[in-house]
């Protein structure tokens, strides 16, 4: 019966195609019309996942930071060039032991109430309160007693922050902190109105109606795992400068290819590409843009007792054999990634220019002869014929496994070193990192604030994120020098000292500084990519007609 109907079937599809073509002539070509609309100043985007936490005191992930950076504002913010600018605070004064902020009178919450200094006091106290268990509480440690309160040693009323009046905020510092103002742009320091918070308690930030907003936009609709809508906030003190009326995150998916398909289909105005999808984008003749995200990725070694990786010559052998340029060019394959040379990425500011310009990192030329000699020395010191296999702990994402396989192959071919790759799901990997059940682990670190300290104290012996438990009193001393001084030259020189130690002792193996490539709708202007804060930033975006 099917076979006999075949000619009819073909005929009917021909008719269908004819109808389609007629429709095609009759209707306007839609093309990109959906993604941006100049008349209503709307832009449509996709986000990678459902924001897990819109409580600014507790949020840690990229997507939540993205949303919060648009709907709320702290004492300071970033302007369209990426420099620190006044936010809720009109002006401020920073001294060695204190900081004072004068808040603007026209800063309002979306419910009409003014933003007051009390809102900051309430929020900061909650952040350091141990029962809040905020992962970013350490950001406020420069404030007096913050660390002690967070450890549970003092009550929260001892925090060095007071509201002198509704529009004046006074902060007492634990120690001279030259970069303190930079911290006030970070979401953890955003204000929270106590009255509203207490009215919502456990369900604060659970839905769009469970928050009030003081940023350039407000969150108007939130359908979990489906969509998120932001609208221009009429109460915002700088509403005149905001050109966009709406940001609609109509799609939530982590699949980069799906987002590329949405972009090609004209449904979203921006999407990030990765190593596989950029080739599909090339075929479509889109203008691809590039951006360095500011994060560094490296291999961490385990310094616990009885670990082979404690041996310095072994680490230096690996350092001498590894070619970050080959890694970036052949394995990562996307432009924008920079070969890893140091823990401190290229964008970090130094005294007058960037830190890496003033204190260049040693460019490591891969040298197999030297590497093999170092390996022989390591074998002699460890008293073994052959180094037993080292365990490299990676997460179960395809990119980490690919990078680990490259390292495994490279070290085997060049040094004869055996690596076993231990793939673990997220929590199991964290458990192993905490308990020290690895030799080498792939790690990365993104900046939290605009100062070198955000990378500087990573390998200090007291830092819990120092999973390998690296312990060097000289290193610790230099970190403390940089923490306790406010003179830029002193601090940068100390950091340069750290950079030298990190290289000479091969404390870590920097692999690359992350760069990304992305697509942007040609009519979308003013979208700002940034290393810090919510990235990308649509606050100053506009739609060209």
């Amino acid at each position: 019966m099917l076979l006999s109907g075949l000619p009819n079937f073909i005929e009917s599809t021909m008719t269908l195609r004819l109808i389609f073509c007629l429709l095609l002539c009759a209707t306007q070509s839609q093309g990109f019309a959906d993604a941006v609309d100049a008349a209503s100043a709307t832009v449509k985007i996709a986000i990678a996942q459902e924001p897990p936490q819109l409580n600014s005191m507790k949020a840690t992930d990229q997507v939540s930071i993205f949303v919060l950076g648009h709907v709320m504002e702290g004492l300071t913010r970033y302007d369209r060039r990426g420099n620190l600018a006044p936010g809720v605070a009109e002006r401020w004064e920073l001294e060695d032991q204190s900081a004072t902020f004068w808040l603007r009178k026209d800063a309002k919450w979306s419910n009409g109430d003014p933003v007051t200094a009390h809102d900051f006091v309430f929020a900061w106290r909650n952040v350091v309160n141990p029962s809040t268990a905020s992962e970013y509480a350490f950001i406020l440690y420069p404030v007096k007693n913050a660390e002690a309160i967070n450890q549970g040693e003092l009550p929260i009323s001892n925090l060095g922050i007071t509201a002198i009046d509704d529009h004046t905020l006074s902060v007492v510092l634990e120690r001279p902190t030259g970069y303190f103002i930079n911290l006030t742009a970070f979401i953890t320091t955003f204000p929270i109105q106590e009255k509203f918070y207490q009215s919502r308690r456990d369900s604060y930030a659970a839905d769009a109606k469970d928050m009030i907003y003081n940023g350039a936009f407000t969150l108007t609709d939130w359908v979990h795992s489906a969509s998120l809508n932001m609208r221009k906030n009429p109460m915002y003190w700088n509403a005149d400068a905001i050109k966009l009326n709406a940001i609609d995150a109509d799609y939530i998916t982590a699949d980069t290819r799906a987002r590329l398909n949405l972009f090609i289909d004209g449904k979203i105005a921006y999407t990030q590409l990765d190593g596989e999808t950029y080739k599909d984008a090339l075929n479509n003749q889109f203008r691809i843009k590039k951006f360095v995200t500011g994060s560094v990725y490296f291999l961490e070694y385990n310094y616990r007792p009885n670990r082979l990786t404690r041996n310095q010559n072994l680490r230096k052998a690996i350092q001498a054999a590894f070619d970050p340029e080959e890694f970036v060019n052949k394995v990562l394959q996307t432009p924008g990634n920079l070969p890893g040379r140091s823990l401190f990425p290229t964008w970090v500011k130094g005294v007058n220019a960037t830190f890496r310009q003033e204190f260049p990192a040693t460019v490591n030329k891969p040298d197999l002869v030297r590497a093999r000699a170092l390996l022989e020395q390591a074998k002699a010191e460890l008293n073994v014929e052959n180094i037993p296999p080292l365990i490299m702990l990676v997460s179960d994402s395809p990119t980490s496994t690919k990078q680990a396989e490259y390292m495994q192959g490279m070290l085997k071919t060049r040094l004869g070193l055996d690596i076993k790759i231990d793939v673990q799901t997220f929590k199991q990997r964290l458990a192993k990192m905490t308990s020290g059940d690895f030799d080498i682990v792939g790690a990365g670190w993104g900046p939290d604030f605009d100062d070198i300290m955000t990378f500087g104290d990573l390998f200090a012996s007291w830092n819990l994120n120092n999973r390998g438990r690296y312990n060097n009193p000289k290193y610790d001393r230099l970190v403390r020098v940089a923490m306790n001084s406010s003179d830029p030259t002193t601090r940068m020189t100390a950091m340069a000292g750290l950079q030298t130690i990190l290289y000479d002792e091969a404390v870590l193996l920097p692999m690359y500084e992350q760069g990304v490539i992305y697509l942007q709708h040609p009519k979308l202007k003013g979208m700002r990519r940034t290393v810090l804060g919510s990235d990308p930033d649509f606050t100053y975006a506009r739609i060209a007609p």
Binding site: R257, E276, Y278, K279, D280, L282, N283, Q285, F286, R287, I288, K289, K290, E325, E326, N329, K330, V331, Q333, T334, P335, G336, V363, L368, P389, I391, M392, L393, D396, P398, T401, K402, A404, E405, Y406, Q408, G409, M410, K412, T413, R414, I419, K420, I421, D422, V423, Q424, T425, Q428, D437, F438, I517, P522
Partner: protein
């Protein structure tokens, strides 16, 4: 019809008896013997037999004939499509390139220019090889920098410029080196002048085709050259008939190595758990009542358990060391968690069959439960059993890929067909061969068992047997 002749008395004498009338002219065949005989002459079964022999040969004898190391990373031939053997020119090891700076040209414009001229004299410095392509150009008046793009097809206008390789931030830097994943194919480099902040709408493009090259140290490491060889020679590169994957590993060698794991898991695991499921379902369906209930509820219990969680648990329980391949524990885990589907299907069939007349008859003749189940009921559920077996094969292969992906199963760099498919999917559109070959081999395996199943069905089914005679 009419009689040929009239009947006479001798016509009515009794016919002579003959011992030959009651002889067996053919040996008596039992059910299984008959089935075997029919299987041997069945076309589908024969095709499947050839396929299975082919796969076995590929797995066992293949690595002896094709001796490339499946883990060797040939970084000069990444993601290469299947091709004939290539050659490369030996070049000296890489030396860092410093971009030339024009001395008397300012690095920034004095004022914001409204227009900038297109870049002139864009050309390649030295030879363009897959190790590096060096571009130089003449400085543009009032420029504050230059952006360099690369595309694999000719850019139309200003949009399709391709990948943004680099933005040089000074007007007097007039050179750039590209080392990003170069292949020996035509590239179109485009350069756009900037004022230090924004790009201007004028573009200059040149076409460059880098020559396939390999550094001396890389060639020595791979055993393709000796340290005495001089740059400039042309040497043959390792041959990859099926192409290479994203790390330059030979796909044919990986398929052979992956065959061991995939075929072992993909054949042994289904055989075992389907067998178990058949007996479990058979007994449950026949015995019925409370026993059936308990057995089936246990099957439901196993299905409802969260798969990923229990796999992680098994991995720890079996004490697989980090980075080691846990094929046996994975086999056990697959068997423990995948049998219920077959059991349920077989039970359903048994519920229908046990009410048939011949079952009652056999029971009356004195058959016990086990005899009835094994000799009468299960052979009649063959159709369903063979279908589940066919589906179990790819299911086991892909579950194994998933398990290896989360760390339970084969550890990198050991490949398996399923994990090669996982990796190949990402570059499906740009490098389809990475997905095509493992999927092809999985398809062949599935086809082989499917045909075998069909052949077995035709051989064993008593109804079709009588029909074919």
């Amino acid at each position: 019809m009419s009689l040929e002749r009239p009947l006479t008395e001798p016509d009515f004498s009794p016919a002579p008896g003959s011992a030959a009338a009651e002889q067996l002219t053919r040996p008596s065949l039992s059910f299984w013997q008959d089935a075997w005989r029919r299987l041997k002459s069945n076309t589908r079964a024969i095709i499947s037999l050839y396929l299975i022999i082919g796969l076995a040969f590929f797995t066992l004898a293949g690595p002896l004939l094709w001796t490339q190391d499946p883990a060797a990373q040939d970084l000069d031939q990444i993601s290469q499509a299947p091709a004939l053997p290539k050659t490369a020119r030996l070049v000296a090891d890489y030396q860092p390139f410093t971009a030339p700076i024009v001395a008397d040209h300012p690095s920034e414009p004095e004022d914001y220019p409204d227009e900038l001229a297109a870049v002139a004299e864009l050309s390649v410095l030295g030879a363009a090889t897959t190790q590096s392509v060096k571009l130089i150009w003449a400085p543009v008046d009032q420029a504050g920098g230059y952006s360099i793009y690369r595309s694999e097809r000719k850019p139309e206008g200003l949009l399709g410029l391709g990948l943004p390789l680099e933005t040089v931030n000074a007007g007097n830097i007039v050179g750039f080196e590209d080392r990003l994943n170069l292949k020996s194919q035509p590239y179109y480099y485009s350069i756009v002048p900037t004022d230090g902040f924004d790009e201007f709408d004028v573009v200059t493009t040149i076409k460059v085709e880098p020559e396939q090259s390999i550094t001396i140290s890389q060639a020595v490491l791979q055993g393709l050259a000796t340290p005495d060889d001089l740059p400039g020679q042309v040497i043959p590169l390792a041959f990859h008939p099926f192409g290479t994957d994203y790390l330059g590993r030979d796909i044919l060698a990986r398929l052979m190595q992956g065959a061991r794991v995939s075929l072992f898991i993909g054949v042994v695991a289904p055989l075992i758990y389907v067998l178990f499921g058949v007996f479990y379902g058979g007994f449950a369906g026949y015995l019925g009542g409370k026993i059936d209930q308990i057995l089936m509820r246990f099957a439901d219990f196993v299905v409802a358990l969260p798969f990923l969680l229990f796999m992680i648990l098994f991995k720890i329980a079996f004490g697989i060391g980090p980075g080691e391949s846990g094929v046996m524990p994975m086999l056990v885990a697959l068997i423990l968690l995948l049998w219920p589907a077959t059991a349920r299907l077989v039970r359903g069939q048994v519920l229908k069959i046990r009410e048939q007349g011949y079952i009652e008859a056999a029971r009356l003749l004195g058959g016990g439960s086990s005899y009835l189940i094994l000799r009468h009921i299960i052979p009649n559920t063959m159709g369903v059993i063979l279908v589940t077996l066919t589906f179990a094969v790819p299911s086991a292969i892909f579950t194994e890929a998933f398990l290896s992906f989360i760390g339970m199963g084969v550890a990198p760099p050991t490949p398996s067909w399923g994990s090669m498919c996982n990796e190949g999917v990402k570059t499906m559109l740009s490098h389809p061969h990475e997905l095509f070959f493992p999927a092809l081999f999985i398809s062949i395996t599935v086809l082989a068992f499917n045909l075998l199943g069909d052949g077995l069905t035709e051989a064993l089914d008593s109804k079709m047997r009588t029909r074919d005679q």
